[in-house]
């Protein structure tokens, strides 16, 4: 028994080592996921893209008009005083939907309690929000009061107020999971590659039972996944991704559930297909497709209802649910359902894969 386990362990270590042997594999399995996780999370999970630039033409050029321009600065708007030609150019170029004109005589009108401004806009301008804000600022100016402020706070359902950072972490996980699936799917073809190269035949001829080779193949899939997760999460964590925001337990379940399903499906695909090249192709194309249909890159709420329903059979949807539930809702207790679904899908893949691989002719 110990001898069998030792042989499996040696083959597992060799298979895992082979996955990280070449610079190209290291780049694809470790470097690219890290870079993509950090870049995409930073790009898409920021605070709504920052304040909107408002081009303002100050034709009054008085102290009051300057205070009005300064008062317009808020979380939503960033005023920028420019000459009229530039403002009209921005409007024409489509980089701004409207331009605010402060006409000469603004200060005098404000002193009489009736300030007047003008908004230039294109045909499809609907407006409304900025007008409300400009009115509030002008009123405060006329009355000599402070500019009104509103306070909108975001809170995660579990009470965490690090909203943007949590959204960033979720996006980073979405990117990581695509690369985890891709790496394991690609390695799923290792057994076929060994058969094509003749290594498998030599192993079996040397007396190693085929079942042990398959077992080592399964173990190495999980090993590669764990190694990749350790490196990617450690590095992205060092750059500020909040992997431990909900504790080790939530992170461990999220990783184990995701890796289990990825390894199981990789095994299933290896059993169904007979070619390492085909698996390589599937590894490149299938995970991004599943991720897009599973809400890893954009919220599924924007998709049609049919696609939202179809996501219920998508492993990446459940992997993302595992993270969302754990980090944003009720922690480990609410991770159980997605975890169960992932284990079910992973086991199904493993059973199909192992059965097919066992029956496969050498």
């Amino acid at each position: 028994m110990m001898e069998r386990l030792y042989r499996i362990a040696v083959m597992t270590a060799a298979n895992t080592h082979r996955a990280f042997r070449t610079p190209a594999n290291i780049i694809w399995t470790l470097v690219v996921p890290i870079v993509f996780s950090l870049v995409i999370a930073a790009l898409f999970s920021g605070p709504g893209g920052g304040p909107q630039t408002v081009y303002i033409v100050d034709e009054d050029r008085t102290e009051t008009s300057r205070r009005f321009v300064d008062g317009l600065a808020s979380r939503s708007y960033q005023p920028r005083a420019v000459p009229r030609e530039e403002a009209e150019g921005q409007l024409a170029a489509g980089s701004s939907g409207f331009v605010l004109i402060i006409p000469s005589g603004f200060e005098a009108a404000a002193t009489q309690g009736q300030p007047r401004v003008e908004i230039l806009h294109g045909a499809d301008y609907t407006g409304g929000d900025f007008e409300t804000w400009a009115t509030a600022v002008a009123q405060a100016l006329v009355r000599g009061e402070a500019v009104p402020s509103v306070e909108v706070t975001q809170e995660s359902p579990n009470g965490n107020r690090a909203g943007d950072a949590l959204a960033q972490m979720r996006t980073a996980f979405g990117v990581y999971i695509v690369f985890a699936f891709a790496a394991l799917f690609a390695r799923g073809g290792a057994l076929h590659q060994e058969r094509e190269d003749g290594t498998l035949h030599r192993l079996v001829a040397a007396g190693v039972p085929y079942g042990e080779v398959v077992a080592a193949h399964v173990a190495s899939l999980f090993g590669i996944g764990l190694l990749q997760a350790a490196v990617v999460l450690t590095v992205t964590g060092a750059f500020g991704t909040l992997w431990l925001a909900a504790g080790w337990g939530v992170l461990a379940l999220a990783l184990l559930g995701s890796l289990y399903v990825a390894a199981g499906l990789a095994l299933g695909l290896a059993g169904i297909t007979r070619s390492a090249t085909l698996l390589q192709g599937l590894a490149g194309g299938l995970p991004p497709l599943l991720a897009m249909m599973g809400g890893a890159f954009f919220p599924l709420e924007v998709a049609p209802l049919a696609l939202q329903r179809a996501a219920r059979i998508n492993p990446i949807f459940w992997a993302m649910e595992l993270v969302t539930e754990g980090y944003m809702y009720r922690g480990v207790s609410s991770q159980l359902i997605p975890l169960f679904v992932l284990i079910l899908l992973g086991t199904l893949g493993s059973v199909v894969g192992i059965q097919r691989l066992r029956r496969m002719e050498l």
């Binding site: 975001q154 996006t171 897009m292």
Partner: protein
Amino acid sequence: MQRSLRITGIICVNQVRRVLTDRGTPIWLLALPLALIGVLGMSLQPLMSSDFAPSKPFHVVVAEIPGGNHVAVIEALRGMERFLEVASVADPESARELVRHRVADAALISSPGKPAAVTIVAAPGSVVAEVLESAIERILLEITVQRTEGVEIAHTQVDVTDGAGETPPWLRTDAFTYYAAGITAMFVMFAAHAVTVTVATDRATDAYARLRSLGVKPAVYMLGGSLAAVAVAILFVCTVALISALLFGVNWGALGPWTVLTVLGATAAAGLSLVVMALVPNPEHVDSAGSAIYNVLAFLGGSMSPLLVLPEWFRRSFAWLPNRALLDGYLKTSLGAAASEVSAEATTLLVASVALFALGWTVWSVRGRGEEA
């Protein structure tokens, strides 16, 4: 000369045939891009439409707070019935509990005595949180301002259609057209690379060495391979364009500018693939190196995430990429642009093609001399 041309032709046809008869080609270069166009087009169509509304309204609960502004907030939110279905609950804890158990999508909790303060309880980054944040800011401001008399805001509509610039094509298109162009611009690189991988395999299996021993010059071999890459890339674009037009109703625009872009785009992709092969010393790694590079380029060039959701600096920084130029060009033609209107994109692709082939050929030649020595 004639012999060289004949051999170039034979090598080209042979490489094209090998890619087309590969069992993986229909999956990798046809089913997958079409599936991506279908899925992304369907998924993001509502988001890219100017009339976006979720498939069902988000369920929002508002906590009743003595002295809070919940009545005014509920009243204002009821005007957004396409987006939100609003109900009130007795207290903040009940509201939070409903969200925690995902019975409600979001909860709004105002602060007693602070009419302009509200806490939104929702999953960070969710659509409902974004929708509520902008709506609540406006509502709170309206509650705070109350009176609007005394301030006059005049509106003047101006004609912006003849301005110095124009609305970018990716802001005027639907999701199916966007992704048909984007995925084509991405997979044309993979199509060209499929040939390059077979060329690289010839090096690994000594087929190339045998051809060289029969007197085939490296330039002839490379030219044959590159022509095959261009041919496969063009075939790929034509097939995807035809099927996407039939399946998803994608309009690719006038044939003239489309053909110019396709030929130049395919040539640039073949040039890029040649550079990858020349730079990667081990033929076995040419495939995976190409995959990594093309995925990165596809992301930077707007093939994966729509350009409209990317920051302005990002869009500007990578506008020079050949795959981005191809995407922009295809989107323009789909909107009815003539050949002269895609001249900037065509020039970018032409320059990229020349530069990439020059670089690829130089590296290949230098390495080839090193290997032969």
